[in-house]
Subunit: 435 residues, 2 copies
């Protein structure tokens, strides 16, 4: 089957990431989508720079209007941002009967009602998973995964820049100004950081989440927005002492009188999951009447995390254009004729770290013999703790190993248990750093 | 448009929850799905008991074979569990051209390949969101939301019973046997808890996650399974001292040689998000090459959380049977003609708790005056902290309020700031318990 033809508007951070992910995972993606997804045209301002990344096999020019009218393009991916040119291009693409994928939260928060109405009329999709919380599939989760629920409220850390600044202010006791400068130096904040630090970006995203949660039109102009620029180190310290952390939350809540829609610094209990979302990470907490609270956590920005959502939307559209509705999503994610026969490994071949605990005679040479035995078995030690038990002249010994093959660990354990100075069975527990 | 007709096989915990959620949220669900979802037939062993919950308007009998062959039924929801009768009923329903929704992980982990092949051939859907991690939409997230990624590994707390037992053992320093008994008394563990505590239930779920992550057939018989029944209080305490917690994880990982598929107690770093998933909660951590790590957290079992996923699958099927593919999922989750005009509240009308901080003269009567002022404004105090500053005879005063209307808080602040003994502006921060 012919590939799906994608036109990219913009090849900046997210556009570049989208190109890379589509290229690197082309096979994996086609196995899932049922068809190849191919970028065939790109519109950028700096054509030469784009060619450096993409090469010359793809048509690259500075003509976005030509791209959205190009009859060979099936899906337009809008990644230029802003809400003037982008609005015009998206509406034109829709009018041309093309599906649209966008990461543009400002555009949708302000002009979503108009855009979605035009798309519905034309029977095209405007997909925007990447517009909210980067790589976290929160739009899909709320729009399709929690449809049984009457949503009660949504509270999210949906701006990584401000969360990074707040995390640093708290852990280092520094000022907002100092950490804003640090964030800018690290590339986490833009030269003009207003949209992030004053909560506007979070409010764009929250506006979309509120509409999906409650079935109301997008109403960005009614959102209450307060950023973090006035927070003092003292505020954070005081909150900490009372058992709270300060997070910039986007909160939307259903009340009998109407819907709350607000972005502001918020004290949350220190031990709550959302209080422990640190650095540039994002998290969205949703409360539904049937499901209770669910948390969706991951990278909220960046080249490839955001591209992950752009490409997921492209796969959604591709599946739609490729198979009958009943076969749209394969039961096991991959097309039935594209399943792999990768073998499942025996537990003997598993590689992980281990925690080994034993009781040994507390005498010279024991540790040397044991470490030698482990080294000979190819097992590298990450940490060791010895606790003498005075009353019976033995010691409790714990080894934490680096990654090793389970078969080797089991052989080493058998050898250890055969040693005369080892006075217990070896307790073996597997460990994962999950890093 | 006519409603979608659903036949329920079984009306136990999840079946009862499904009935209740469909009834309570009928309107909200129809606004999303584009059509009403109606349970028109139920097959149970105890018909009289089922009638107590459901009434007599629905056809209830003890004839599951009749239900799956009933030409008026569009979707069969299989909630009887097990893998003998359920297998026969699901295959028959598919053969009759009906879509199937099931929460039965044992059935799919063992017979998924056969069931999915039959469904693909017939062009029907077998949806199973509820089979893994209860109310967390992890199947949708992995099958549709993370499709851009080459998945590297998945690690999940996917059995609430064992996580509850491990959480209790750790916090109370008690034995496995004691906490198993406690879990049974609370209804978190079954009379025969073997499937849960020995890791079999987690392995069923992990088998499905591995197939969706890597595009391999379901291969439950190749999973390595080790439960928590042999863990000692000492193991947990030792892990804690080293900075780790023990969780029963299902882990599936891609390696060059093949795929790891294993369930066992695992030490994880104490400060990691997954280590802090406590009690009967579930969480699945997924690592993709583009998105990095994402965590999906929520209730993994129980009447309504599991029903939340069953009903989400019903909405998915209903959308498929109702609209053109391009209009299947409405842009803002709810059908365009079913949007609400619920007003957005002004920030003055928002209700939340507040943290109010101010500096006051350290003299008798100040606190009495302030608490009286707040009481008169209808603001109830949750906590108060006073810190004297000896050098200037003032005190730092912090009030934490119960929920109050923002307008009232702002009026109270204006009154407070007008008092002669109040020597600073009032710092006002909003708080959310997120409970």
């Amino acid at each position: 089957m012919d590939s799906i033809k994608v036109g990219l508007l913009g090849l900046g951070v997210v556009g570049g990431g989208t190109w890379k992910v589509l290229a690197r995972n082309a096979q994996e993606i086609a196995r899932r989508a049922g068809r190849s997804i191919e970028v065939t045209r790109i519109a950028v301002r700096d054509v030469a720079k784009a060619q450096q990344l993409v090469g010359t096999s793809v048509k690259i020019d500075a003509d976005p209007q030509g791209l959205v009218r190009d009859p060979s393009i099936d899906v337009v991916v809008e990644l230029i941002g802003g809400d003037t040119l982008a609005l015009d291009l998206v509406l034109t693409a829709i009018d041309q009967g093309k599906h649209v994928v966008t990461a543009n939260k400002a555009l949708l928060a302000k002009h979503g009602n108009e855009i979605f109405a035009a798309a519905s009329k034309k029977g095209v999709i405007v997909a925007f998973e990447a517009a909210v919380a980067g790589g976290i599939p929160i739009i899909k989760a709320m729009r399709e995964g929690l449809t049984a629920n009457r949503i009660e409220w949504v509270a999210g850390i949906i701006n990584g820049t401000t969360n990074f600044i707040l995390s640093e202010m708290r852990s280092k006791g520094t000022s907002f100004a100092a950490e804003l400068a640090a964030a800018q130096a690290l590339g986490y904040a833009e030269a003009d950081p207003t949209f992030d630090i004053e909560g506007v970006d979070a409010a764009h995203k929250l506006t979309l989440l509120a509409s999906i949660a409650f079935g109301i039109p997008v109403q960005f102009d009614k959102a209450y927005i307060e950023g973090i620029s006035k927070l003092a180190a003292e505020d954070i310290e005081m909150a900490e002492r009372l058992g709270y952390r300060i997070k910039l939350l986007g909160i939307t809540k259903r009340r009998p009188e109407g819907i709350e829609l607000r972005v502001h610094p918020t004290l949350v209990p220190k031990e709550s999951m959302i209080a422990n979302v640190e650095g540039a990470m994002n998290a969205v907490l949703v409360r539904g009447d049937a499901v209770g609270q669910s948390l969706f956590y991951g990278k909220g920005a960046g080249e490839e995390p955001t591209a992950s959502s752009v490409v997921a939307d492209l796969v959604d559209v591709t599946r739609l254009l490729t198979a009958d509705p009943e076969h749209r999503v394969p039961h096991l994610a991959f097309q039935a004729d594209a399943m792999a026969d990768t073998p499942i490994l025996s537990i003997d071949d598993v590689v992980t770290s281990y925690h080994l605990r034993m009781r040994v005679l507390d005498q010279p040479g024991v540790l040397a013999d044991l470490t030698r035995l482990l080294a000979d078995a190819g097992i590298s030690i990450q940490a060791m703790i010895q606790q003498p038990r005075v009353h019976d002249k033995t010691a409790e010994l714990i080894f934490v190993t680096h990654e090793a093959v389970e078969r080797n660990i089991n052989q080493a354990i058998a050898s250890i248990e055969a040693l005369s100075f080892v006075k217990s069975k070896v307790t073996r527990l597997r460990m994962e750093s999950l890093a």
